[in-house]
């Protein structure tokens, strides 16, 4: 035989062998998966672009497939289009998505339309979830709608203030406990060199870009001026009439404080979103910052070398003057007016964004619904989540008591014991505070805050309008949305979202 024929024959044999192996695997695959409960089931998840939030689900999905046989597919869309795509898919009956992982407040509108699966029966059968370990705020407010659980948390969101321990110590300054102190510290530290590169740095770094996250930051400031009576009071609407509680001195003051922080920040801060601001913080250029819990894990990330073991965290500052809901004016705190004050300062840690949580499509078939719940439970269980929240790039922030009590996973991840204690202490203080302020969780929430509030705030920051004009415009815009959705329905859902049942 010629060499050419020999080569061709051996190549054929090799190809034939590979084909045989492939056939065997293809036939044996299902047989191998036969013992797994969800063999043949596919779970399609829709969420924001990774790596934040999405990538960890991809990785845990591979583990879940090993354990159960279900295939987990994570689909990503831009954050600003996430709710729209999810709602369109479920409301039109397309149902290509089985699990939505979204801002927890959006669940209310989905549940009102009957699109979300009630998870209570699944939780009752679940002996691995350990529901009571989930911090009360997330367990009772974020996961529940009208008394039943419809979502499982995978990321606990609220704002804190971060500060450079070394910079403040060098100037003999204390972490701020009020917003006046925040501005004073920002002014004192602005223009100094915080990272040793010879260029002046900033006193405060807070994202201010329109259509990004700026409207969360202003609410973090406003909450402590507006809410004094506990989470059930809320910061947005009158609890009897659904009239907006925004055209008042409290919100005007918050707008002005937020704008003032820009005097001590990067010159293009008005065009910086959270990614830009975090980059500036990680470069060691900010003495103070407002952010979700991510700054902690980001400081032990390789790209956070400039701030490794130099950051501190503290509960959001508060105010000694708070809103009188009758007159719309600020009044001094007293034990009666501010029952939850600490040293005369009313704090209202704002659960900005509420956190990312997963909900199951009520129209999926029974096996897929069960598999979907089991995957969300797997993500939520302490065995997985307690590790995930220590890794900065996941975007997952703590929400379980066990994540806050045990320092070991954090130290193992690279936190110094001192910073771990400081960071977790700030989170605990915030999560356990009885006056924690909830993000808006009613139908049209995105229109109220993400569109109207965000746009007027942006116009105010650009100098187009005054703070008084801004809040008046927001009031008008909110009333239009409320009328559009139906005032009575909105009031009922708003009250339910604050745990008010009668």
């Amino acid at each position: 035989m010629t060499r050419g024929i020999e080569t061709a024959l051996s190549r054929r044999a090799g190809t034939g062998g590979l084909t045989a192996v492939g056939l065997v695997l293809a036939l044996a695959g299902p047989a191998l998966a036969q013992g797994k409960p969800y063999a043949g089931v596919t779970i399609d998840i829709l969420t924001r672009p990774g790596p934040v939030i999405a990538q960890r689900m991809v990785e845990r999905g591979v583990e879940f497939t090993e354990l159960t046989g279900a295939e987990v597919r994570v689909h990503e869309v831009p954050f600003a289009e996430l709710f729209q795509k999810l709602l369109t898919d479920w409301a039109t009956g397309t149902n290509s998505i089985d699990v939505g992982v979204f801002q927890s407040g959006w669940g209310v509108e989905l549940q009102a339309a009957g699109l979300l699966e009630n998870l209570d029966p699944y939780i009752e059968r679940d002996d691995k979830l350990d529901l009571q370990d989930i911090a009360p705020y997330f367990r009772e407010y974020n996961q529940k709608i009208a008394g039943s659980t419809y979502q499982l948390t995978i990321d606990g969101d609220f704002h804190m203030v971060y500060y450079r321990r070394d910079v403040l110590e060098a100037l003999g300054l204390q972490p701020p406990t009020t917003w006046e102190e925040y501005l004073a510290v920002a002014e004192a530290t602005n223009g100094l060199d915080h990272n040793g590169d010879g260029t002046p740095d900033y006193g405060s770094c807070i994202f201010k870009k329109r259509n990004a996250q700026s409207y969360f930051a202003v609410q973090s400031i406003a909450a402590s001026f507006v809410q004094t009576q506990g989470t059930g009071q809320g910061i947005y609407f009158d609890l009897e009439t659904m009239e907006p509680m925004i055209n008042n001195e409290a919100w005007i003051t918050a707008f002005e404080i937020y704008k003032k922080t820009g005097d001590y920040g990067p010159p293009d801060e008005v065009n910086q979103d959270i990614g830009d601001t975090r980059a500036v913080v990680q470069a060691g250029r900010c003495a103070l910052a407002i952010d979700w819990g991510d700054i902690g894990p980001l400081s032990i990330d390789p790209s956070g070398e400039a701030i490794r073991d130099k950051m501190g965290a503290v509960m959001l500052p508060g105010s000694t003057r708070v809103l009188d809901w009758e007159t719309g004016q600020l009044v001094d705190c007293t034990p009666e007016i501010c029952p939850h004050a600490i040293n005369g300062v009313n704090h209202a840690p704002f659960a900005a964004f509420g956190g990312w949580s997963g909900g199951v499509n009520a129209a999926a078939d029974e096996l897929t619904r069960q598999a979907s719940y089991d995957f969300l439970s797997y993500m939520n269980q302490a065995a997985q989540s307690n590790v995930d929240v220590t890794i900065g790039w996941t975007g997952y922030n703590p929400y379980r008591n066990s994540q806050l009590e045990n320092l070991d996973p954090w130290v193992a991840a690279g936190f110094s014991p001192e910073f771990a204690e400081n960071y977790l202490g700030a989170i605990k203080a915030s999560l356990n505070h009885p006056n924690m302020a909830s993000d808006l969780r009613i139908p049209g929430a995105q229109q109220y805050t993400g569109v109207v509030l965000d746009r007027e705030l942006s116009r105010f920051l650009a100098g187009e309008i005054t703070a008084e004009q801004a809040v008046a415009n927001i009031e008008e815009g909110w009333e239009e949305i409320t009328e559009d959705f139906g005032r009575d329905e909105q009031l009922e859902i708003y009250r339910a979202s604050l745990g008010i049942t009668n």
Binding site: A112, P267, V270, N271
Partner: protein, 387 residues
Amino acid sequence: MASAMDQGTVRPGSRIPAETAIHRPLRVRLAEWLDGQSRQLFIMPAVVLILIFSIFPLVASLVLAFSRLRLTGNMRFVGFDNFEKQIFGSEQFHFLGTFGEISVAGWVLIVAAGAAILWWLLAYARSGFTWVGFIGRLITAALGFGLAMLLGATLLSGQPFGTLGVTLFYVFVGCAFQFAIGLGLAFLCAQPIRGRTFFRVVFFLPLMITPIGVGYAFRMMADTTKGPLAPAWQWLGLGDFAWAADPWAARVFIVVGDSWQWIPFIFVVLLAALENIPRDFVEAGEGDGASRWQIFREITWPQIMPVAATVLLIRMIEAFKIVDLPNIMTSGGPGIATESMTLHAFFSWRALDLGEASAVAYLLLFVTVVVCVSFFNLVVLKRVRTA
């Protein structure tokens, strides 16, 4: 038996005399009928596709523009409410602008524009008057006067204008700038200079880059604190200048990015037009001792004017739809200073306010159609006829 067509006594598609038709089989009559309709039948699939993908969405969005729709609830007809909200209601500041006291300069512009438009209409009424032409000019005049009022009441009176004004800025200022630069580059590359083929390729490249890439690239380059050009900005003393925080600087930067992308389009079309000018005309002018400027004004420009007017029209139609660059570079900020009408509609759509999004889209369609059809009839056709 040979048919009347075979015998050459009947033209295809023409009616067959009744007495002849009666005696011909149905199959034959059907075949002849189909032959007669063949033109329509061949283009029908394309027409149906166009109808499905353009007319149906137009009608559906028109219905949405007159409704309030909730994906989780019902849809109710609200008449002109969505439009009224943009022009007279709570969104007036967003769409038209903020109105206050009109300045002297504003009044001068409004009165001058009104007088000029009246004179133009009267001049038309006195020459070659047709009702169709007059009604068309009336619509153009109404929009023109409306825009003059808007300009006088907002920009010239120190008040911010809304997404309509921002869009018109991108269209008129942007297209004028792009036309001037594109024509200049085309003129240069039409000269017998070394490396002109290389320059032609290089000048054409930006048109092939995705607008999102252009947006991010320019945003990066404009960043004065970090990014590839930050050292250059700081060396120029602009290290603290926040272009994104100043409305006009932000608008200018977006026009710069848009121009970088679209000048190649104007360049390549005008270059083709310039190269098609018969060489004899230019040589004749040179032989008569005309200067370069005289040659351009008397020979070159009249030759390329029809093409120039057409390319400008095409560019304007596209410019009205600008959305990528303001979205990427500034998200429509600072405030709403760089938000175009398409971006306005996009934000509304994203917030699931489909009624408002459709209403803004239809307002944009109205403005685009009136401006572009007016330009076409009054400028392009005139140039084509006189060329």
